[in-house]
């Protein structure tokens, strides 16, 4: 199955929150939505889960959608088991069906030892795992996860990705938001939002092809206008492809491509 969003536009109190967003969500894939504060990531999640009605655009989405709102979405004064039970009951799971699913999720999340702990007493990483488990419990056709790994340490983060991969390989489609570009690169498809509009959309390879000219790296501060630093090394994007002095051609990663694209769209206030 393929779900889709076309020409999505959202205005909130007269302010444009999202504009010209298109998505094709194929079954068994992960789409990462990346962007900074106010880029429109959470607005998009709210539209996908039906919490916010778009101003215009068309949506074709499945009947069962799991959702993890930003900041876990679990109830602090319920235990791990009770939080999951609540979701199971909302989806009218029988006792037997719920027990089976609970067992699977405890194994996948390693939350078993904490099953009777209140969610408010879990570590940040455990609480995020619980939030993702709650979104995935009903085996939804689409799961929307809003910043599932923010504030999560590397060990818990990889466990979360294994949980996400497990669910994707059993057919769920996942849309997740992140502020981390190395993480976005894990997803098959990436939507980079900037001030509500798509800066880039596609696979890593497709996004790489969107950028005209060439990217260079150099140790001395270049005079070219489109320059920035990563870890003490300068990057230069030359739209016409010419090489700055003493520079070597760069095999760009997602971070480089998106930074260069944000220059090419020439929006105000992106980089000094």
């Amino acid at each position: 199955m393929t779900w889709s969003v076309e020409k999505l536009r959202v205005e909130i109190e007269g302010r444009l929150a999202l504009c010209d967003v298109d998505l094709r969500l194929e079954s068994g894939t992960v789409t990462a939505v990346v962007g900074g504060d106010g880029a429109g990531k959470t607005t998009l999640c709210r539209v996908l889960t039906g919490l916010l009605r778009p101003t215009s655009g068309s949506l074709s989405l499945p009947a069962t959608i799991g959702y993890q709102p930003a900041g876990s979405g679990s109830w602090g004064d319920l235990t791990v088991r009770e939080n999951l039970r609540f979701v199971g009951d909302a989806h009218r799971f029988s006792n037997a069906h719920f027990s089976e699913r609970l067992g699977e999720l405890m194994e996948a999340t390693a939350l078993g030892p904490a099953i009777d702990r209140l969610a408010m007493h879990l570590s940040g990483g455990m609480r995020q795992k619980l939030g993702v488990a709650m979104a995935l419990l009903p085996r939804p056709e689409l799961a929307v996860l809003d910043e599932p790994t923010t504030g999560v340490d590397p060990v818990s983060r990889i466990e979360l990705w294994q949980l996400i991969t497990r669910s994707v390989t059993s057919g769920t489609t996942i849309v997740l938001t992140t502020t981390y570009l190395d993480e976005a690169a894990r997803a098959g498809t990436i939507l980079a939002l900037e001030a509500g509009s798509p800066l880039a959309y596609g696979t890593l390879t497709e996004i790489g092809r969107l950028l005209p000219g060439a990217l260079w790296s150099t140790n001395t501060q270049p005079s070219e206008p489109h320059r920035w630093q990563r870890g003490g090394v300068w990057r230069v994007w030359s739209p016409d492809g010419h090489s700055p002095p003493h520079a070597s051609r760069l095999e760009p990663d997602l971070n480089d491509v998106l930074t260069a694209l944000s220059f090419s769209t020439n929006r105000e206030g992106m980089k000094s």
Binding site: G28, V30, V34, G35, G36, D37, G38, A39, S123, G124, G125, T150, G151, V152, D153, P154, V155, S156, R157, I158, E159, W161, Q162, I164, T165, R166, V168, T169, S170, T179, Y180, L181, D182, A185, R186, A187, G188, T203, L204, W228, Q229, R230, G231, G232, N255, L258, T259, S262, M270, K271, S272
Partner: protein, 278 residues
């Protein structure tokens, strides 16, 4: 090179729990040291001992050559995880407050909005302004860019690098690979101990992960996780963390799954996980 921070064999216990277990690290002038570790690895404990906010059981802690004290803290710029701003005061009032307590000149952008009216990214920037305005010699930043977008993060790092190229030093905790590349040296902590340190390229050199390309992704994932291998999606491929190539190849062929497995350079995250679980 002047040592700005010197922590040697620091031990801090909370009851039975050993939060810092003979942890040692140094920060020199002109360098950014990244302190990495899972939650509960002891990063914040180490920083709190370093700032004199927490007593410790044994070991030695020197901040700008002295035991942490009120006077030496005037030359330290500290951004705690919770930002350390009064959210019901304006940015300017927060700066005034610093000026009073530190007895230092504080310059910065005047902003008369209350801190809690600002976006998360602007709050982070305000916390930086407040912590850096008195031109400290050493910056101590506990997850300074948590929750901000990629471009704001790059700007905050530009600020850190600019201070350091003027001769300051920085000790920065982070969870993210995206940030490790801005550090000159990295120190990995697990269960209170320093388990590894070096530059990013030193830490990842020689370490590998296994990348699997196959049309039968879903079955390959099931077989690899069944064998208790940590496996995650990586674009259209799968990546197996801290496994050896032969083992992966054997599992795939035992299941009759055609595909290509190759050892590839591990990411810092993957090295980190392998190191913490060893």
């Amino acid at each position: 090179m002047t040592k700005l921070v010197e922590v040697s064999e620091l031990v801090k216990r909370f009851g039975e729990q050993v939060a810092a277990d003979e942890a040692s690290l140094e920060v020199n002038e002109g360098e950014v040291v990244g302190l990495l570790g899972a939650n509960g690895a002891g990063k914040t404990t180490l920083i709190r001992c370093l700032l004199g906010l927490l007593d410790f059981d044994s070991g030695r802690v020197l901040l700008l050559g002295e035991s942490p004290n009120r006077n030496v803290l005037r030359r330290v710029g500290y951004v705690p995880q919770g930002l350390g701003l009064y959210s019901d005061l304006t940015v300017e009032e927060n700066l005034d407050f610093r000026r009073e307590i530190f007895g230092t000149r504080v310059e910065g952008v005047v902003d008369d909005r209350r801190v809690d009216e600002l976006s998360h990214g602007l709050q982070r920037r305000a916390a930086f302004t407040a912590a850096l305005a008195h031109r400290p010699q050493i910056l101590i930043l506990d997850e300074p860019t948590s929750g901000v977008g990629p471009w704001t993060r790059a700007e905050l790092w530009d600020t850190i690098r600019a201070e350091v190229s003027n001769g300051a030093g920085a000790l920065v905790t982070t969870h993210h690979l995206d940030e490790a590349e801005y550090c000159d040296r990295l120190v990995l902590m697990a269960a209170g101990r320093v388990v590894k340190s070096g530059s990013l390229s030193e830490l990842i050199s020689g370490e590998t992960a296994v990348e699997v390309t196959t049309d039968r992704r879903d079955e390959a994932f099931a077989a690899l996780t069944e064998a208790a291998l940590l496996t995650v999606l990586s674009g259209s491929k799968l990546r197996v963390v801290s496994a050896d190539l032969q083992q992966v190849t054997r599992i795939l062929s035992a299941e009759g799954i055609a595909g290509h497995a190759a050892a590839v350079a591990a990411s810092l995250d993957e090295v980190f996980i392998a190191t913490s679980s060893r």
